[in-house]
Symmetry: C5
Subunit: 358 residues, 5 copies
């Protein structure tokens, strides 16, 4: 669960000096080739195509059926640009698709809506959470989704489209957009569940055996949660704006579904908040258990020292070499002194008992 400070810092884009609308991919090359999947469907049937080049996508713009084009891989800017130009997307919109560090946002371009989401991924090995940008362009009867890597959560939607389960095939492009957003939000719960496991383990460690490493983990978990929160928080507004139904592209019947996603989003945000509270509490526990340990160390030192310092003094007194020390020649002096020492020691122990230190 270690995340270097630097890795988060890298999220700042240094793409300065280019004219606006310059389509420059700012993410990492995660897939070898840009792939496009096309699902063209209506209630009657589904046509699934994997076009070899971008031009094969163009005819689907005209079909009366709903078309979902899922573009995976954003580094081949040319493909994005061709598609964008054909579908009449604004240059700034295309720039946003490939600038993969956008906050979740919602823009209404009239003929189509542009939605940016952030998908969370939990890296089991490092315990880190990373995010990937998923952009949706929602038109009258098409949805184009753009993502950097082949993400899992959409698999369920592919299944539902293929089997015709649920009402997805009988509804429009806005419902498909809803389904994609819902899939992303639902996946948050999976990631949160895993983060929660980490928090649980950490909570036990903090109480049982806190080390400076524990503190580091607490701090990085705090940052991790801050990062997740910042990725999810603006989503509330995005879904809220969609749900208010200001765009004619969102039909009224989809509104109730979007309200449902909205509720889920708030639930995600609240879960993150409660995790943050827990981690904050752990920090306090950590600090106070460090204090407690110090206390215990001091107690041991004090007990040993206060028992032995007085008796050592007594031994020192009878180690003096004065010629006239009558006790030295008394026959029972030695055992009596030993007994006095014992009494002093026991007295101290009794005092500590009374103070509840022992």
């Amino acid at each position: 669960m270690k995340r270097s400070v630097g890795s988060k810092r890298k999220r700042v884009i240094p793409k300065t000096g280019l004219p606006p609308g310059s389509i420059v991919y700012t993410g990492e090359h995660n897939v070898e080739k840009v792939t496009i999947e096309i699902f063209d469907y209506d209630e009657a049937g589904l046509r699934e195509v994997r076009p070899k080049n971008v031009e094969e996508c163009f005819p689907f713009k005209e079909t009366p059926t709903v078309t979902w084009m899922n573009v995976t891989g954003l580094h081949d800017v040319e493909v994005i640009e061709k598609l964008g130009v054909y579908f009449g997307l604004h240059p700034l919109l295309m720039e946003d698709i490939v600038s993969t560090n956008q906050r979740p946002k919602y823009d209404d371009f009239g003929a189509h809506l542009f939605i940016v989401l952030r998908m969370l991924h939990f890296n089991e090995e490092s315990g880190e959470v990373s995010t990937e940008q998923v952009s949706l362009v929602v038109g009258e009867n098409f949805v184009i989704s753009f993502q950097e890597i082949e993400a899992d959560p959409f698999e369920h939607i592919r299944d539902r489209l293929r089997t015709g389960k649920g009402r997805i095939r009988s509804m429009g492009a806005d419902y498909l957009a809803y389904a994609l957003i819902d899939a992303v939000v639902d996946y948050y719960f999976v990631v949160l569940e895993k983060l929660g496991d980490g928090i649980e383990t950490l909570g036990e460690e903090t109480v049982a055996d806190p080390t400076p490493t524990t503190l580091n983990t607490i701090q990085s978990l705090k940052r991790e949660l801050g990062f997740v929160r910042r990725s999810i928080w603006p989503l509330r507004e995005v879904v809220g704006a969609l749900q208010r139904g200001e765009s004619s592209l969102i039909h009224e019947s989809t509104g109730v579904y979007l309200r449902d996603v909205y509720d889920h989003t708030i639930q995600v945000v609240e879960t993150v908040e409660s995790y943050r509270d827990m981690v904050s509490g752990m920090f306090d526990t950590y600090l106070s258990s460090v204090s407690n340990r110090m206390n215990e160390v001091m107690k041991v030192l004090t007990i040993i020292a206060t028992i032995f310092i007085p008796v050592t003094f007594i031994a020192g007194v009878y180690g003096m070499n004065f010629h006239f020390m009558p006790e030295l020649s008394w026959p029972w002096a030695y055992p009596v002194v030993l007994l006095i020492m014992l009494a002093v020691g026991l007295g101290m122990v009794g005092y500590f008992r009374r103070k509840r230190w022992l």
Copy 2:
């Protein structure tokens, strides 16, 4: 008053990949069988029925009298579904009824209102607070309430319906809904009273005898209160929305009662806030009493050490074996040295007295 970190974490739903409106119960099976109680009443009389199967409920939809159907147990999804379909409930509404980790919310479906509440339960043994979801569907002349376990607070309402006490029998379904909400909110005070007892005990423990366990209890109580707060906070909006009378299902005469519930809700929230302040204060008291203890330990060590270290040194000096140490052969040297030691010790004690350490 111990609540494991994990138990709270489990509240995240991992129900991903299902089409929306899938009615899957996400709670625990708390009752053996789904039971339905029906109270069908008007000012003139009351008919109380316990139908054997869900179909027996259907005729009550048509009666001009007010009908309260109280469904206890949500695991038998089929029952919920049948009822829902017959009463024309939206699939998402039915999904929300059985997804038992919703925040309090209010949805207006036109023909009926949907209200989700959270009921608090205080487990006397563990000192934990758990919550149960109570959903209300309020129609023109019926209210259907759904709950996971058989809850107590509605008993008073059953009594009032049976005896005809108060104005409940002479008013409509909206007043019944108000009465149910009021019962849930009133029960919060009972749970808060019990939490308050725990806080009081803890407050005394923190001052009198703080241990690391005290800290754990403080932390978990803090989380507990955060949890309660999150369960209650959205209720304000819910009741506020109901009270604004935007739905024609809520009559104006009920508005004043809802305003009363609203005031109670704010009182609950403020009580929780003041409890949180108290628990925060306890944390500060705990930390500072740990500091004070350390201080006391250090003082004891310092007093003992600073009294005996100098006199032990004096003893050490006269324990040296130099051949030419004239004091050694003086007859009064030994008692004089003992007196000097005593003087040094008393001097130290006097110094500590002046410093107010003794």
Copy 3:
């Protein structure tokens, strides 16, 4: 200035299970009998009556003159109920009058306004602040005030009514209501002044001689102020709502006076806030002075130990019994060693001087 944690906790009402509008007194019985004072006045004259039973109040409802009925003592619910029924008060309003733990609030019932205030009392002996509920029902030409105990602040208003000083007799019921609210708010300043005295004393104690008791007092003062703040804060909204003149019962000419009360309320809230800041500062001062004390204890220990441990070692060396220790037989060895010891001691003292520890 000690207030037990529990006493504040008792403010939660456990009145569950009763139908709404049940008039049950939830306070303590502070006065022996419910007493009613009636002031019936116009510019021309004043009639002051102390009716023996509640029925004697009824005729005043019809008089064209302004009538102030001041009801002291709320435990005799029957009296309240009779009065309420005759003056046409809503059952929930009557319930609120006797549920003496309401937050300040304002309700417009059309024919009359209902205002709940909280009056502060400072108990000189315990240093505790307690609150009492004062409810006002403001009609076209009457004001009924309800209070638990006979409060002082209204004495000034009685005087003004009797002597005809100021413009109170020449104005309507709304002005009387303003005057009563103003009296309550003005009395806050008296209580705050006394709390301020306590804070001042505590501030000096924290700097001069902090003990664990100081911390307890700081914490309870913090709670006390939080309690005062919660009692006063909602008053802002109440007076703000009155001043906006939404009710036709409040004449425009009274608006400027209510704005004045509003300003006073904000001043009270700000004073409480600044007290809270002071008490927070004291907590920090307390913690740091505990730290400083520990520091001083450690310094004394360190100075004594580091001066005597090395010289005791030297004495130990010459206390060894080796046969071949040439120094032992040197005639000047003893004084030379004593001088070395002195030099080591003085060197240490010099070191501490340089470090500014002495």
Copy 4:
């Protein structure tokens, strides 16, 4: 820079029991006599008068030229009252003028506006900031300003009026009011500059040589800044309300100037906020430097103790009086033991070096 806790506490007014509109001066008597200055001007000329009694002011009410009456000293309530009655001021307004602990506020009385400002003064000797109330009554062609003591900032405006510099003489009463407000706000920067010097000095002291006195100064500076903030903060709203031009007494051409004052006010507030951040940072620095000192003390003790305790033990071993201790009679035993002691000591020093404690 010391301000006693009590002095701030005195700001609470205990003026209870008087009818509203009672004109009672609540400040201190700072000037011997109430003085009035009159500036009557238009673009053509200026007439400057110092009337001997308040009646001399009355004719200026009728002149078509702009009149500025600057009243210094508020203790002679009679003067204020006469002036107020002649100019038709509301009794509550007059009460506010002489109750010199008002927050900045703005009231529109139709025929005139009432503006309360707080002027800051920095006492060079005590380092304390005090405030004085400045009230403005702005009419169609007159401005009356009331202040407790003869303040400096208006000197610039007198100069500009006399010399006709700038556009002040060619504009109306609203511009004059703006100029007076601007002068008060500009003077805040002077006071802040001086507070800033104190903060700078304190910052250096905190790092170089923190003592408990430093903490007291930090705490009182914190309170001082809180006090300044509370005095300035409501001014934002006052100037904002003026600038929105809701009153016909404020001409549109003055709006742009008020917007400028508004910007300055925000700048003042931000400066105060940044000072508060600095002082907060100092508190943290103070605490951590106290910790660091303790650390250093402990290190010295530990180094001395851990070097000498083991070697003292060795000396103790050879000080034992057993008859059969073969080492005692070895000729090289004594120097060998001394070397061992040296080795132990040096070993310890090496250990501390490695630990970076030396």
Copy 5:
């Protein structure tokens, strides 16, 4: 990365007593001479002029082409004034241009818009961030930009104007204004990147080797970030206001670009917030590592002392000079006592092992 407390304090303007609209430069003289660059362009061509005196700029006011006048250096107030008077700028606007400590702001003067931005500079040597004021006056077909020093970020815009790259030449003055704002915001990312490097280094230092200097750096970095935040935060509102398109000078087609800048501004603010969180976390880490060090020091002291104090006592016992101590003459007494001492020492070590201190 050291910034003295005082340097930030200097930002307060002491320009009091001057009439409003007095054009007095409050910054430092950073460039030798005021220089003006003129870019006059339309889609067809570009004319680049460097006029020798301000009068040469006047003809460009009338051209139908878009004109960008970039004024570098603000100390020669006369130049600004001449330009301002000719272009009909309000005196307060001109005052704001040369008062170089304005917050970002936006004013609509009807015929032109006035925008104040703050440009960040990162001083590589001192690690300090400084800001420079950039003011824009946006008219129908001209933009005048004012800056104190010759800033780099506009170089890209000059390039684009010269080469005709992008759509800048084909669009109006509002697009140019957008491009300038965008350049300033984009440059923030560069400065943040560098601040981020400093934070990363500091984060490692805090964990590995914290010293009091580390604390100073943390504190000054915190202040630095607070300063950056205050400089950027109001920009949100500025761009938001521009984007809402309330002015007819901003064409609708530019709105989408301004929305893009708005998104960037929010991203900048969020980055600053996340940096602040990191620095706060470092402070906590610092404090707790100071605590941990103290803990370790105490442990070493305790281990040494508790091992040697008991065995030194045993040595002291057999150093006593009593005549009757039978053990002294036993032949195996000495080695037995040594073994006992060893056992005590090992016992202590074992105890510490069990306590996990070793």
